[in-house]
Symmetry: C2
Subunit: 215 residues, 2 copies
DNA sequence: ACTATTAGATAGCAGTACTCTCTAATGGAT
DNA sequence: ATCCATTAGAGAGTACTGCTATCTAATAGT
């Protein structure tokens, strides 16, 4: 497949594909002449993955590059891959250096919740920082949620996450390297886009609840 | 309170506060002289709200301006406010003009889910578009979730949303205009930041589930 | 009187995701 | 054989975002 066909089939402009090649998001095609290279179905698949992460997942180009490097690294297993993706996605928030009481209280609340749930998570997990930062911001604005509400969220998400992780490796270990990559790409896009699905469903449910109560 | 004190108490640089004033995110202080204005606690509260939405909620300045305009509009009720905020947050995705089969299948799936759940949502609700776009992207990348999984998500979020909406108006209607604004700000920050809480909890639960299964 | 601070305005800056332009080489059509 | 479209590869340019810096004139506190 030539650049033009890749562009046509993916809906991505040629100049943009070239940009992704320069940025290392897309591996180069196999050159057939000085001014010609051939691209395969895997390029098309990768391109769709990039666009999904960018347009729907709102993931930055730099983060996508990091994620794809993990996807292409055959030495990492499913668990490490999930962790690496979470680390790449994780908030680039800087915790306050001084002793911010809101931050510290939020950190304690997050730690308590995690241990109450019996969750096994790394101390430096970015999601932990994200939770702390969000709880701290809620405290700062005087809108801290109740502990009971947090637990309800956690219980619900615990069940959803368990079933999703269980479906990650449907048929044993991957057969070929290409199949492994396709499977890993699918897991990544699932991780990122399911978050969007959850947000969309939550907003829809909220609109419904609000309509019933006030509408 | 003078600009300097507002800056010190909020942790936001003076130049940035001036920028928010210019952008209309922060109402001007009451001028006391040609080069002096006085700011109150409401400015401090609003500034914290802006920072929470920006830094944790990842909401753009333009969107925050739109949201704050709704918050300050005393003529809108809770339900309309929620709708307006969702509309402002909503994806700025453009649905494909041509008949994209993935998009259309995703749209049908979203509509089916909404009617299965018995949800009352506007046909043009941005969350509906977000759901459609995300399902379409999942289809394009060959990672479409199962209908059963979607229903499980929807059920869980339906319960969470109902309890959150129920807690929006804790003690009847607001007393003073200032109290109404404070309550509305709290509702907005809750809407936006609780989404982050959910994402953080999901990632934590996923890490735990993955650790138990593969770690 | 002097220094620090402020309002208000304008300009600049760093990062992001492209988009455009150019050159030289090549492929297919006529 | 010769044209025209297409391509690789490289570099510069663009539009937008969220600040940040600089300047002027006015004022407050010491």
């Amino acid at each position: 497949m030539l650049m033009g066909e890749l562009s046509r089939r993916s809906g991505v402009p040629v100049a943009t594909i070239k940009f992704y090649l320069r940025e290392g998001l897309l591996p180069p095609g196999t050159p057939t002449a000085a001014t010609r290279a051939s691209y395969g179905e895997d390029h098309l698949r990768r391109l769709r993955l990039i666009r999904a992460l960018l347009e729907v997942g709102e993931v930055s180009v730099a983060t996508i590059r990091t994620i794809l490097a993990v996807v292409d690294d055959r030495s990492v297993g499913v668990h490490q891959m999930l962790g690496a993706v979470q680390y790449a996605l994780g908030p680039r928030l800087t915790p306050p250096t001084d002793g911010d009481p809101h931050w510290e209280a939020a950190g304690r609340e997050a730690d308590d919740l995690i241990s109450d749930m019996g969750w096994i998570v790394a101390p430096e997990a970015p999601a932990r920082t994200l939770l702390t930062a969000t709880l701290a911001a809620l405290r700062r604005t005087g809108s801290a949620p109740s502990g009971a509400g947090l637990h309800a969220y956690a219980e619900a998400l615990s069940r959803l996450a368990a079933s999703e992780v269980a479906s990650l490796e449907p048929a044993g270990s991957p057969e070929s390297p290409a199949a492994r990559i396709a499977l890993t790409e699918s897991a990544v896009v699932g991780m990122v886009l399911h978050e969007r699905v959850i947000i969309a469903l939550r907003r829809l449910a909220q609109e419904d609840a609000s309509a019933r109560r006030y509408g």
